[in-house]
Each structure stands twice: as structure tokens, then as C-alpha cells.
């Protein structure tokens, strides 16, 4: 993997989350009915950041859950490697709530499709809104994000890497070039 550029550094990262937190509150006219669901792995940490931002603005702690969508994926038969599963942790009732679903990168949309199915098995939410830190294009399914941190048009040979302080040591978005172009 070669780093091509770093479109967003840690300061930009924080401003971006601040803007999104305000957008979420504006669109939902406050935070009354909101819950946050982060998709493993990095979506979980992004959701926590949004939770902190909203706490600063509205002084309210939104419920936060973590979703693992491995069991809902559609690529079991085509992948060479068996995906590792981990645990979803949603301890509150999502019925009739407005869910902000959080993930780092939106690409084909297949992971979001899996997440929508998974959430329906936890209950019947009022709405599900999607917050994506980076939209890199190349959708394979009719899915779009309600809140986009940054649109970064990419070619198929490129890759987006989102790093978060909690596990990667820094907040940043990188654009990488895949070394194996046939992959």
C-alpha cells in the first residue's frame, strides 16, 4: 500500500465531526428520539465521537450501540477467507427510535445493506439515517448516506483508510494506492 495523500488530518477530522453533529441535530430538530449505532470496528469509535459532540451541544447522553454485521453478509460463498465474527451490543429498545447508523467508508453499499437487515432483527426503528465519514463512490446497490463527512472520488485501484485515535493512534483519512492492481 502506498500513501497517495492525506485528505483529512486530525484537526479537519474533528471539525468534520462537529459539523455532522450539528447537521444531525438540525435535521432531527434536536436529539429527543435519537440513538447511535456504530458499525464495527471504526464506526463504533466514530459513533462515540458523535455522542460526545452532541453531549457538548445539547448536554444529553444519546444511547449508543455496536453492530457486527458479519452474520448478514452476502459473500460467504465467494470469499476465500472466513470472516471473523464478533458481538453486537445493543442494550436498548430501538422500536420507533430514530437511528443514526455510523460507519467509516461507504463503497459498494453491501455492508450497509447487511446492517439494515441486522437492525430489522432487533426491532422496528422509526427511521434509520446513515452517517458515513468518507463516501468513495462505486455503489453496487441503491444506497446513499444522509450525512457525509467527506466525498473523496476514488478509482477502483485506490483505497480509503480511516484511522481513529483509539485503535490507530491518530485521527486521519488516507488515500492509498493498491499495489496489486488486479485485485
Amino acid at each position: 500500500m502506498n500513501i497517495k495523500s492525506k485528505p483529512v488530518d486530525s484537526e479537519g477530522f474533528d471539525r468534520l465531526l462537529t459539523r455532522i453533529a450539528h447537521e444531525i441535530l438540525e435535521k432531527n430538530k434536536g436529539s429527543k428520539n435519537l440513538v447511535l449505532i456504530g458499525m464495527r470496528t471504526r464506526g463504533e469509535f466514530l459513533a462515540k465521537r458523535i455522542q460526545q459532540k452532541i453531549k457538548q451541544i445539547e448536554n444529553i447522553d444519546l444511547p449508543l450501540g455496536v453492530l457486527d454485521v458479519t452474520l448478514y453478509r452476502d459473500d460467504f460463498r465467494t470469499r476465500l477467507k472466513q470472516p471473523e465474527v464478533s458481538v453486537s451490543n445493543i442494550t436498548f429498545d430501538i422500536n420507533e427510535r430514530d437511528i443514526i447508523l455510523v460507519d467509516d467508508v461507504l463503497y459498494t453499499g453491501r455492508t450497509v445493506r447487511a446492517a439494515l437487515n441486522a437492525l430489522m432483527d432487533f426491532g422496528r426503528p422509526g427511521t434509520i439515517q446513515l452517517f458515513i465519514l468518507v463516501d468513495r463512490g462505486h455503489r453496487a446497490l441503491p444506497i446513499r448516506a444522509d450525512y457525509v463527512g467527506k466525498n473523496i472520488p476514488t478509482s477502483i485501484d485506490e483505497e480509503i483508510k480511516v484511522k481513529v485515535k483509539e485503535i490507530d493512534g491518530e485521527d486521519a483519512i488516507y488515500l492509498l494506492e493498491s499495489e496489486n492492481k488486479n485485485n
Binding site: 457486527d68 452474520l71 470469499r79 476465500l80 465474527v85 458481538v87 453486537s88 441486522a118 432483527d121 432487533f122
Partner: protein
Amino acid sequence: MPLSSKHLLGLQGVPREDIQLILDTSITFREVLERPIKKVPTLQGKTIVNLFYESSTRTRISFELAEKRLSADTINFSVSGSSVGKGESFKDTIKNIEAMKIDMIVVRHAAAGTPLYLTKISDANVINAGDGIHEHPTQALLDLYSIREKLGKLEGLKVCIVGDIAHSRVALSNIYGLKTMGAHVSICGPATMIPRNIEKLGVKIIYDIDEAIQENDVLNILRIQLERKAREYFPSIREYSKYFGITEQRLEKNGKDILILHPGPINRGVEISSLVADGKNQIILNQVTNGVAVRMAILYLLGTLN
């Protein structure tokens, strides 16, 4: 890392990483069982045959539930009401079932080695649900999971298996699994029910139940299998119960908080008293719940191998 084998025939020789993977994956499925909709689409389109040549309630229902909760299609086969009664051979039955395009077979049979034989005549993934007095790996794995869930670890724990060791597939699978995971395993029972040379597996033999309670963190109490002529190995049920039955008084006398497991079905008043079977030390029904999660994990790990 995926499992190193496409079948689960027993725990003998199964590497520690595989057991660890199954136990860790089970945590995911344990969570699924707590959801309002206890079903995931993971094995959609897979067909699983439950081939039960021996009677079973818990294991069969547990497997069936696990399969359904993974969205697999299941077929239940039991000897009564099948063409086995018309004289069809085992191999022919399997060949015919396999011709219907199935992906996995869960098998229970009175003859040890049946699951291994199945792997040679069929392409399906085979899971042993108990073969004779050989192994019952899914039971041992759910025991391991339940112990770890309660005590937080397996490494270094002292576990004693009590009862008819010689005729128990649960005992053998537990010994292999627990040893691999670093537990200290002992067995306790009447001398007639302790198989010769069992100490070569690295287990300690204890003949006195009070000593077994004193020394261990966990007791896994086996059912006295009256249908397997267990009565021929000791003078009377009353005597067995007197010397090896786990009672409240016995636990109190030894003044010990010990974790109690039992694979079921329980013979109340024989190997375990009603008070203990419903008491605060036992996790018998947790074992049953965990059994579904552990079997889901095994089905998932084998069923999604490429």
C-alpha cells in the same frame, strides 16, 4: 483463522486454536439468542440432515434450533419410521440422502466411529452428535463454554468428572477438550466404572467423592446410564447414590463453593440430589442455553468454510 478441519468428529487431537475459536465465536451467537428475533441469515441455502440412530431430546432439539436460527434448511431423520426398518444398509441410506444434495450431516449412532465412516462415503461436513462410548464433542464444548462463562477461564482450573467414566462419551470428549485448554482433569467413580489405563490420558483418578469435592473447582456429574446396563457395575442404585451421589449435605460438609455441571437428563436422587440439581451451585440449564449457541458457532464455522 478458520478451523483446521471440515468435520467435527471428536476433540481428540483438535488443536487449542480451534477450540478457542469455537468458544470465542459462541459468544457472538449467545448474543443472537438474546435478541427479539433470534435468527440470522448466515446459512441460508444450506441443507443439514440430522441423522439420529439413537434417541435424543436435548442434543437433537439443540442442533435443530441452532440450524434454524442460522436459517439453514433441516431434515430430521430418526430410525423409527425410516426405511432402516425395511433392511436398508447404513451406506445406502447415506448415499440416498446425499443424492438429495445436502451440505452437512449431524450424526448420532450407537457404533463408535460412525461419523468417521461417514466422512469417507460422503462429501458433506460431518458433525458428531455422539457415537457409542467414543466421543460427544459438542457436549464437551458447551461444557467448556459454560465453565469459562462462569469462572472466566479454563487454564489451570481443576475439573473432576464424576460417574460412569468407562461408558461415557461425554467424559472422554471433556477430558480431551479440558486437557487441551490447560485444565487439570480428574475422574471419580466406582472402580468398576473407571476404564483401565485412563491415567495415560493425563487424568488423576479419585475414588473418594469427598476428596474430589475438596480438591476441585468444578464437578461435571455424569448421568448413570441405566439403559446401558449401568446396574451391572455396582450392587444397587442406593449404594451408588450413597457413595457417589452429590447431595447438599455432602457439599456443605466439605464447605466448598463448587461449580456443578450435568449434561442431562438427570436422574434425581441417583447421581445428584434434587436440592443440588436446583441449587445455587449448578448451571445445568445454562448449559442447555449455551448448547444452542455453541452448536450455532460450530455450524457457522464449518458451514462457511470454502
